[in-house]
Each structure stands twice: as C-alpha cells, then as structure tokens.
C-alpha cells in the first residue's frame, strides 16, 4: 500500500473521522429520501413523473441542470487532471462550458416548445414514429449507461480510498448501495424528487468548492500568480506545468486525440438525454432559456473554482502523493481538503469528511438523473409508442417506467461492479462522443432542415452510435495498453482514445446521405407544425 493511501486511510480509520464521513453522508441520504417521499406523494400523472409537473422556475431548473452536469468527473476528475497535468486539465472544463452555448442557441427552447417528455418526442415528430423512437430510445439508453458506468466507477474509487474499504466485496457493496438508492429516488420521486435532489446537491457542491477555493486563495494571500508559481515549482515540471502539452502534447497522435476530445466535449452536451429532459420541467421556452443562462453562470463559476482546487492541490501536495492515492488524480480534491485543514488535525479530518460526503452526494444525484432519462425513454418511446403503438394507458406507461428504472438500476449495478477500476473521466468523454455523434445531428436536422427524412434520422442515429461505440471498442481504451479495460489482450487498431473526430462527422454525413439516397418524401405538413411550434411555443404542453 502506498504512503498516500496510508495518509487517507489513516485519516479515515481514526474511527471518529470515518464515523463523521458516514454520518454526513447518512444525513444527506436521509434528507433526500424525505424529499423523495414528499415529491412522490405529489406525483400523480405522467407529466409529474417525467417532467416534475412542469412547475419549476428557470432558476430552480438552472440549479438542477448544474447539479445534473457537475458530475464526479467534473469535480474529482477535472481537479485531479489539473493537479497532475496542470494546464491540460483546464482544457476539459473549457470544452464542458462552451458546449452550453450549443444548447442555449439551438436546442433548449425548440425542444421545450415541441416535445413532451423525451428527446425522442422531438426526433420522431415529423418522422415515422416506431423506427425513429426505437433509435432514439436505444441511443438514449446507450449514452446514459456509459455515463452511469463512469459515476459508478467513481463511487467505487472514492469509497475504497476514503473509508478504507479495499476488498472487492466492499466496493461491490457500495456500488450496489448507490444503485438501490437511485432506484428508490427515481421510482418514488420521479422527476420532481430527482430535481429537488439535484438542487440540494448543486448547492452543497458549490458551497464545498467555494470553501476550498477560499482556503486555497487565503494560503496564497489571494495572489494568483504566486499560487501558479508554487504549483509549477511543486510539480517539478516548472513553467511547462502552466502551458498546454503535458498530457496531450507528447506526439502527433495525442495531439489529434486532443482535437477529437475537444470536438466531442463541445458538441456532446446538447445531445445528452438526461440534460435535455430537464428542459421539460419548466412551463415555457423562456423559462428553459433562463435555466440555461443560470446553468452557464453556475457551471462557469464552478469550473473557475476547480482551477483553484487543481492548482492548489498541485501547489500544496507532492505529485507522488496524488498519484499514489489514485493514478488518474481522482482523489486530489479530497486530499486537498485534508491538507488545507492540516493532516493529523481534527479540522483536516472534518474538511475531508465534508468534501467526501459532497462527492458522494454528487454521484448519487447524477446517477438518479441518468436513470430517470433512460427509464423515461424506455417507457415513453419504446414501450408506449413502439411496443404498444400508442394504445398504452398512462398508468401502464408509468408502470413500465418504474419497472424500467429497476431494470436499468440492476444492469448498472452489475456493470458498475465490473467497471469499478476504470478511468472515470475517460468514460464520461466517451458518453459525450456518443451523444454528439448519434443524437446531436438528428436534433439539429429535425429542427432546422426541411428536407430531412426518416431514413436520414435512422442512418444518422445508428451510424453515429455504431461508429462511436465501434471505434471505442477498437481503441486503446479497451485493449492494448496498461491503462486499458483489458490490458492483457491487444485488439486495438484505432489509435485515438476519443472517437469524436471521426464519428461526429460520420453522424452528420450519414444524416445527409440517408436523406438523399432514399426515395422517401419529407412530410412538409409535419415540418410546418414542428417549425412553427418550436419557434413560437404554439400548443406547447
């Protein structure tokens, strides 16, 4: 066991500290369960379950959107990447933030105006319902499961380090606990409960980040140049630590990989189903716009703080200690809390416990949002409109949604247990690439391109999905490297870790090819409906 693990586990094992972590986390779970039960009592029809009754304000939803978006990958992953690779870690947060402008300018309002519950509502609006809803449901579930895996893996890493649970059985137990809790949140609380949980979590996360940022800046007398200088010195990399290139600048291939990642990040957000369904929780497109504006402000402020956290960790903790604790740097933020408070002091232990509990809360809330997105899409797109061909009663549809939640929860417990040692940030970037390749082209074409047809939508969704997932399968993420999922075998031939640079253009091109190569005529009347509704809100639900 490494010294850093000793530091953390020692902090965790000094039983009172460990008790504190567990107590804080239990308080969060208890509070959110109360909210869930309260929300569950008010959840009566489909609009309540899928869209929280559409009664949230723009600010409330903006907070909830931020909660959904600031996942373990943002908080733990980015702070860790900055702590280890300096400036290159910061590049992630820029892509994650700029991406919101695509959602703001092109997607959020038209989607709110023309859809009801799912992304599939908009994709299938002017198309043949059954094939397009099947495609939309499939890609929703695939994207959400990639994302879920990342969060589950994050939970495992965090718990094993902070609570000193290193046995496989213990890690699997934690993954199962997260899975059961998310099933409870979603089946009972639906969108209303989940939205409130996201809001609580967003406030806690922002407060935690503010506290750490303040303490870091205090240490450096609010002199940012000093902070950066100390980070560069302590990292032993000198001024290179503050310049691009440490992570992605090694070879021509890694540079290309960075471009691929950048494109996937900036185009992925507006195709993430769990983000898109949030826009249905507000009454109007105007409120959806306000949600995005608030989200941009909150998420932007949060990423600026991760800059302080990452460089703070680099300045105050030896790089060996960060790497020894977790190779990918995922524990840099909790380690920073410990060091800011003082290793071996009560204050340090309290800070560590608080930040760890916040990180758990983050994971729990995000998995609930993801599960809701995939079970909604299963029930509304696939069960009600494909299997039952629109004849299902609302009660049957909601029953299907709840059973789907249990099913998806079970699947993600199993996959999460298998994926417990995988790289968190990598999995999330993959989910972004799949969303940008399979979902975004069809969303954009459906809304803005008159000529677009069912064949185009199917080619684009399936083509984007298959090319993104296929390239990942044959990339170094899966095989051929010590950091791969299967390090002992090597069947990779695609050199990049992120497929976006190929699969996103493929998704967009196939939409055009599928449209022109089929004899199908576009439905002009339906496009008139969609276009007028999406821009004016006429007949919005």
């Amino acid at each position: 066991m490494s010294p850093a693990q000793h530091t953390l586990i020692a902090a965790g094992e000094a039983s009172q500290h460990r008790t504190l972590i567990i107590t804080l986390f239990a308080v969060f779970v208890a509070a959110t369960l109360v909210i869930t039960i309260w929300a569950g009592r008010q959840t009566k029809d489909a609009a309540d379950f899928y869209a929280g009754g559409r009664q949230f304000t723009g600010f409330q939803n903006g907070l909830a959107v931020s909660g959904d978006y600031m996942s373990a990958a943002s908080f733990l992953g980015i702070a860790g990447a900055i702590a280890l690779f300096g400036y290159d870690g910061f590049l992630y947060s820029i892509g994650f933030l700029v991406a919101w402008l695509v959602a703001l300018l092109l997607v959020a309002e038209p989607l709110r105006n023309s859809g009801r519950y799912t992304m599939g509502d908009v994709l299938a609006y002017r198309m043949r319902q059954r094939p397009v809803r099947t495609a939309a449901g499939t890609s929703t579930i695939v994207v959400s499961i990639f994302y879920l895996l990342a969060q589950m893996a994050g939970a495992g890493v965090l718990v094993s380090l902070l609570l000193g649970i290193t046995s496989d059985g213990g890690k699997i137990g934690i993954v199962a606990l997260v899975g059961v809790l998310m099933i409870v949140y979603v089946t009972i609380g639906g969108m209303k409960g989940t939205t409130w949980v996201q809001m609580v979590k967003a406030v806690l996360l922002i407060a935690g980040a503010l506290l750490l940022t303040f303490l870091v800046l205090l240490k450096f007398h609010f002199n940012i140049s000093d902070l950066l200088g100390s980070a560069a010195d302590n990292s032993a990399k000198g001024s290179a630590f503050l310049e691009p290139g440490l992570k992605y600048g090694a070879t021509g291939t890694t540079k290309l990989d960075f471009i691929s990642l950048g494109i996937a990040l900036v185009l992925g957000t507006a195709g993430l189903p769990h983000i898109l369904i949030r826009f249905y929780t507000v009454p109007t497109a105007k409120a959806a716009r306000k949600s995005v504006i608030w989200a941009i402000g909150l998420i932007g402020a949060f990423y600026l703080m991760t800059l302080a956290l990452g460089f703070g960790a680099a300045a105050l903790i030896k790089p060996d200690e960060i790497i020894a604790s977790n190779k990918a740097g995922n524990t840099a933020a909790p380690l920073l809390a410990l060091h800011l408070g003082g290793v071996d002091s009560n204050w340090g232990a309290i800070l560590l416990a608080t930040i760890s509990a916040v990180a758990f809360a983050t994971i729990l809330a995000v998995v609930a949002g993801l599960t809701l997105a995939s079970s909604s899409s299963f029930a509304h797109d696939i069960y009600a409109n494909v299997i039952k061909k629109g004849t299902a009663t609302e009660k049957q549809e909601l029953g299907a949604a709840r059973w789907a939640t249990v099913g998806i929860g079970a699947v993600s417990i199993v996959l999460g247990a298998l994926a417990r040692d995988l790289n968190v940030a990598g999995l999330v970037a993959l989910a972004f690439a799949v969303a940008a390749s399979a979902n975004l082209p069809t969303i954009i074409y459906s809304l803005f391109w008159k000529r677009f047809t069912t064949s185009g939508a199917l080619w684009s969704i399936y083509g984007g999905l298959v090319s993104a997932v296929g390239l990942v399968l044959f990339s170094p993420v899966v095989s051929g490297k010590p950091t791969s999922m299967f390090p002992d075998v090597d069947f990779h031939w695609f050199p990049l870790e992120n497929p976006g640079i190929i699969s996103i253009p493929v998704g967009f091109l196939l939409g055009i090819l599928g449209t022109y190569l089929s004899k199908e005529e576009p439905d002009a009347g339906k496009y008139a409906e969609l276009e007028v509704r999406s821009l004016t809100g006429t007949g919005a639900h």
């Binding site: 723009g58 310049e243 600048g249 306000k290 008139a528 821009l535 004016t536």
Partner: protein, 118 residues
C-alpha cells in the same frame, strides 16, 4: 425567476390543423421571426465554435506562443482560456437580450393568434 406566463394546464391545448401551420409557416410574420432567430443564432454558433477550435489548435500547435508570460506567472494560455469563459458568458447574455427584445414578442403574437383561432 418568475415566469410571466402562467404554467400551462395539464391537458394539452388543442392544436390548430396542419393546414393552419403550413399557412403560418409561409406567412411574412413567421418568416420574419425565423429570420431574426436564424440570422442571430447560426452565425454566432459558427463563430463561437471557430473561436473554440482556434483555441484548441493554438494549445496543440503553438506551444511557444501560449507559454509567453504576460505578467508574473500568468501566460497567454491562461488568459486565452479565461477569455473562453468570458466570451461564453457574454454570448449567453447577448442572446438572452436579443431573444427578449426581438424574438419573444413576435413568438408570443403568433402563438396567441394561432391558439386563439384554433
């Protein structure tokens, strides 16, 4: 964050017939709404994506330039990164101002006319 319009009722509003939408789509009033939306949103989208890609490419291939120190330990890379944040905030603010002034009144008028006439 109050919403000026009351929350919609749970039963969806009865939609006008498809022909009404086709007529509306071809009307001058709707054409103007579409133009003021698209002529704002589309070029701006191309613009901010190009600016972001420029930043990505500079990070990749212009290391010396990005490493130039401006003051203290603050270099060009950091300033350009923060500039991405700043432009994102500015574009969000600018769009919301444009939408409130130019798009919302037109959209409202068409919506109430269509729903009223349904």
């Amino acid at each position: 964050m109050a919403t000026e319009t009351p929350p919609p009722s749970k039963t969806p509003t009865r939609l006008p017939a498809t022909e009404a939408f086709v007529a509306e789509q071809e009307s001058a009033e709707f054409g103007e709404l579409r133009r003021s939306y698209r002529s704002f949103a589309f070029p701006l989208t191309v613009g901010f994506i190009a600016w972001y890609l420029l930043y990505v490419l500079l990070s990749n291939y212009a290391g010396d330039f990005m490493g130039t120190k401006l003051f203290g330990n603050i270099n060009v890379a950091l300033v350009l990164g923060l500039a991405q944040f700043l432009t994102t905030f500015l574009i969000a603010w600018w769009y919301s101002r444009h939408a409130a002034a130019k798009l919302d009144p037109k959209a409202e008028a068409i919506k109430s006319r269509m729903e009223g006439g349904a």
